[in-house]
Structures are given as C-alpha cells and as structure tokens.
C-alpha cells in the first residue's frame, strides 16, 4: 500500500494539485479550446482503432503460436515482447523511415495513395505495433489452458468448425480480449515517443494531446500542461472503469 502510494498516488496527487492551482476559468481555457478538443479526439480515435487492430492481429498471432508447431517458433514467440523493450522513439523513426515516399515500403505504397507516414493511418500503425504484445500475452495462457475436449464435444454434437469457433472457443476468450484491449488502449493514450515521429504533428489534424502538454511546458506553463494531463487522466480512467465493468460482465456471461 505504501509502495503503491509512493509510486502512483502521490505523483497523481501532485499532478492534480498543480492543475487546480488554476482558477476554474483558467483551467477551462487551458483544456477546452478547438485545438485541444481536436487533439483529444485524435488521441482517443487512434488509440481505440489501434487497440481494435491489435486484438484482431494479436489473436491471430496467439492462435498460431499456441496451436501450431513450426521451426523457430520459440524465437518468434520471444520476438513478440520486442515492442515492450524497444525505446518507442526507435519504433517511430523506423516506421516513418519505412513508409515515407522514398522508404522501402513507402515507394510502393505512396503511389497507391497509402500514406503510412505523417497521417492518422501512420499513428494507428505504430500504436498497433506497440499494442499487439499486450493482446498476445493476455490471450496465450487462456488458449493454452483450453482443453481439447470441449472442441471435440462440440464437433461430436454436430457443430461445424465455424460454429465451434464462434460458440465454443470465442466466448471463453472474450474476457482476455477485453483485458488486452484495455492494456493496449492505455498504452496508446500515453504514447509520445513514437507518435511524434510518425504523426507529422499537424495542429487540428494529427496532433496528439501529449504533444500539446509538451508545447505548454516549453512555454513554462506548468499548470496549463498538467491541466491537460488531468483531462486525459480523467477520460482514460472513466474508459478503463467502463472496460473493467464490461470485462466482469463478460466473465459472468460467458464463463
């Protein structure tokens, strides 16, 4: 408890007290302008989209890793954790370098109208890369502990493969998927290092809220910067509460 309060509670308290050193009017003026609203919207949109993409891709990876044997499997398995360890600025630089017009991938994609650098798509792409391991690592143990007999029973009772998957396997995975979603969402909301390199930081278009926080700090406006942080925290917290409730509900429903 003491440990937790030093690590999380006290810094959070400091953050709130700094933000509330502003008068309500100042606070409002700092956090609610067309530009900050656009930034919140962008931040949450890209985080949600990338978490959804992480779930789909993460599930496929987890499925393959658990159900199939192939050469170098353990190396692939270890590689999943790479985004956890990689400094995110490196991920950002590599992604933007690959997808710009003269990059390895960009030279083929940009003529097709696919902008994988300096666009919303670019941010979703890099956040998905960072989010996938959360989904894989939460789904893997659930898939591994799944007994074959359930599937066999379903099959013997005449269920098709699709039915077996959607009605038998999928429901048991839902709680873990929601957890994975929540984790990668939280990761996406707070991400700064990689996004600044791939987004292009265009105000109103591809500017994330953390960039605005840094901009305020550069102007020595500490209180205004923390005010934006507080808004992000409150919205994120609310979303995580909802996700947690959803997870509980899904457990009761499916498990």
């Amino acid at each position: 408890m003491l440990y937790l309060s030093f690590l999380a509670f006290i810094p959070l308290l400091a953050c709130f007290s700094k933000a509330f050193s502003l008068s309500p009017a100042q606070f409002w003026a700092a956090v609610w302008t067309p530009r900050t609203i656009a930034a919140y919207r962008f931040t949450f949109t890209v985080s949600i989209l990338s978490s959804l993409a992480s779930i789909v891709l993460g599930f496929m990876i987890a499925w393959v890793l658990v159900r199939y044997e192939f050469p170098l499997k353990r190396i692939f398995d270890a590689l999943i954790d790479l985004p956890f360890a990689l400094p995110t600025a490196v991920a950002g630089l590599v992604y933007s370098g690959l997808y710009v017009e003269n990059g390895w991938l960009g030279q083929f994609l940009v003529p097709l109208g696919i902008k994988g650098a300096y666009s919303m798509f670019a941010v979703v792409l890099v956040l998905t890369f960072l989010g996938i391991p959360f989904v894989v690592r939460t789904l893997q143990p659930v898939l591994e502990s799944m007994e074959d007999d359930k599937e066999e029973a379903a099959y013997l009772l005449g269920a098709s493969r699709g039915q077996t998957f959607w009605r038998v396997i999928f429901p048991t995975l839902v709680p873990a998927m929601i957890t994975g979603f929540a984790l990668s969402l939280a990761r996406g909301l707070g991400e700064y290092g990689s996004v600044v390199f791939v987004s292009g930081n265009m105000p109103f278009k591809t500017e994330i809220a953390p960039v605005l926080i840094v901009a305020r700090l550069e102007q020595f406006a500490y209180a205004e910067a923390t005010a934006i942080a507080v808004v992000l925290l409150v919205i994120s917290f609310a979303m995580l509460v909802v996700i947690n409730l959803l997870e509980r509900w899904s457990k009761r429903f499916y498990a």
Partner: protein, 342 residues
C-alpha cells in the same frame, strides 16, 4: 517527456560521477569546485567541445588550475526548465532570450545579466537560412518563393522549438520590413504554414525529415545547422541565403545562484569572458556562428554571405514581446492554424 528528462539526468549523473572520482586530489577545493557545467541547446555540441578545449588550456596557463567542463545539450526551453528545476548549471548558453530570461525570473540569475558581459552578453549571433535540394530545382531565392505552387517547406513547430520560432519571425519580418502591412504578413505566414507537410517538434527532427527522409523542397534552419547539413549531404543539398532574415541572439549568462553556492564564480566568469577573445572568436566562426567582432566576421566572409539581418525590435518590442504577440496560447501562430482549419 519524463523519459527524456530522466535520460538527460542519467547522462548527467554519469558525467558528474566520472570526474568526481579524482576530485580528492584537487588540493584547492577549499576555494570551490574545479568543475563547470555548461547547459546549452541542441546544435552547439561541436562548438563547445572545441571552445572548452581551448579555454581549459588557457585557464591552466593563467591560473594553474585544471578545469573540468561538462556540457549538456537538448532543446533550449527544456534546458531552461531543467536549470529552474535544479540542474546545477554554472553557465547557460541557450538559443532564445526568453529561456535565459525565464531562469532569471526564477531568481537564479541576477538582474542586469545582459550588461555584465560585453556586447549585451552576446559573443556570437546567427540567423535562419534556406537549405534546398541540389541545383535548387524549385528556384527558391526569397521568402515569397516558399509559397509558390507545389513547394513544400520543412520547419519545426514554433510552439516547441527555438528554430521554429526564429523561422516564423523571419518570415513575418520579411513582409513587414519590406513595406507589407501586418495583414499582409498574416496572409503570408498562413500560406507558408499551409505549405508545411510535417511539423516536427525540434530542430534535429526537422533536419532528419528533410535530409534523410527527403521530404520537402526547402528547410528553414539555423545557419550553422545548414552548413553541417550541407556538408553531411555530400553534394545533395545546398544553402540559399534569403535577402533578409532575422538576427538570432543566443545570449550567454552565469547562473549566479549556482556559482555562488558551488564557489565557481571566478572560473565561470572567466569562461564566458573568454568567448570574446580573438582565439575563441576564430573557433566560433569556424563552426559557422557569426562572431561579434567585425574584423573576424569579415575575415570569414566566405562562409557568411551577407544577409540583411533585422533585430527582433524591428518587428515587435523584443523577445518577450515576441512570445506574447506570436506564440502564446491563442496568439498569432495559433490563429494561423485555426484559420487553416476552417
């Protein structure tokens, strides 16, 4: 952000720990430490490395004391914040007046700091120039060419970068100082930023975007960075001097509160005064910063093409006024982006 800060701290701690080992043999410790910390901005690494080497030798010859000088480099404003928050800088050599002033406002630098060194505490100055692709295919010569059809401009965000601020101010001045009205200037910068495809957060990021990722047709940057960028491009890039640009003033100051506590005032003051000597001015010029001594500037005129450099006071009351008028929340730069997104 915190990650960046803690990284800087780590690097610094490591740097501090190393010379700390042999401080026991420094017999004169009673009169203060023999270690100076120079907190500077991003692109000055090579400059200070060269200057420090020269100064340490010079100081040893004069006083018999062997100094140890540590350098710290990052974005100018974040460096100022670090010093305000307790980084023990003996001297600050930042890019923007407003950053040094913020440290003074925090009570760490005494009032009148600009009068305590020659030339208003400005041993060198610089400006913003253009870097273009080989052969200047888009024929960019002047500010108005930046808003021609199909030209893409790379410049960092004025909100987070000194380079970005200076570029904005230079663009503004290029209109109002050549018989344009403020409204014309507003129109011009609005058009200009509609030609900016990527708004990097710092100077080095913008350099990477332009030089390595090959995005954009022209890069607005510090004169010294431009020389470095062109040299490293191996003939892929070249410099274009616009006829008019801003006079950038990276002033230097002793951090009084820190040198008094660490008892390093004598060395710190000698260090900054050394910048005004002919030897130091030569080093400054060879790193493409414009030396304040006219004769040395003249001697290096090959590297410093003449540009009409206007002081900030020609367009606004001063560096502090520039912040309020252009870069604060809801000020002109924000209005530019608001009108671009209507």
């Amino acid at each position: 952000m915190t990650r960046f800060l803690s990284l800087t701290t780590l690097v610094l701690l490591a740097a501090l720990a190393l010379p700390g080992c042999n401080s026991s043999k420094a017999e004169a410790d009673a009169e203060g430490s023999h270690e100076l910390l120079n907190v500077s901005y991003d692109p000055t690494r090579e400059l200070w490395r060269a200057l420090n080497q020269e100064f340490i030798a010079d100081y040893k010859k004069k006083t018999g004391v062997e100094l140890e000088i540590l350098q710290s480099h990052a974005g100018s404003s974040s460096q100022a914040r670090a010093v305000i928050d307790g980084q023990e800088a003996d001297v600050v050599t930042l890019a923007m007046w407003a950053d040094t002033n913020a440290i003074a406002n925090a009570g760490l630098i005494n009032e009148g700091w600009q009068e305590r060194l020659p030339n208003g505490a400005l041993p060198y100055f610089s400006t913003i120039v253009f870097v273009v692709r080989k052969g200047n295919p888009k024929k960019i010569q002047d500010w108005k060419d930046l808003i021609a059809e199909g030209v893409e401009v790379i410049t960092p965000s004025p909100k987070t970068s000194g380079n970005g601020k200076l570029s904005f101010l230079a663009a503004w001045g290029s209109v109002v100082l050549r018989d344009g009205s403020e409204k014309d200037a507003m129109d011009f910068v609005t058009k200009l930023y509609s030609h900016v495809p990527v708004l990097d957060s710092g100077a080095r990021g913008a350099t990477t975007t332009f030089a390595q990722k090959k995005i954009g047709d022209v890069h607005l940057t510090w004169e010294n960075e431009a020389h470095l960028e062109v040299r490293e491009s191996k003939g892929e890039l070249e410099i274009v001097y616009p006829p008019i640009s801003i006079r950038a003033e990276p002033r230097v100051a002793v951090v009084d509160a820190n040198v008094d506590r660490k008892k390093t005032r004598a060395a710190a003051e000698a260090y900054l005064n050394f910048l005004y000597t002919p030897a130091a001015q030569e080093i400054i010029a060879s790193h493409f910063y414009r030396p304040y001594k006219p004769e040395i500037l003249h001697k290096h005129s090959a590297s410093f093409q003449s540009v009409a450099l206007f002081p900030i006071q020609d367009i606004v009351s001063g560096w502090a006024g520039a912040e309020t008028k252009f870069f604060d929340e809801g000020a002109i730069f924000d209005q530019v982006y608001t009108s671009l997104n209507k």
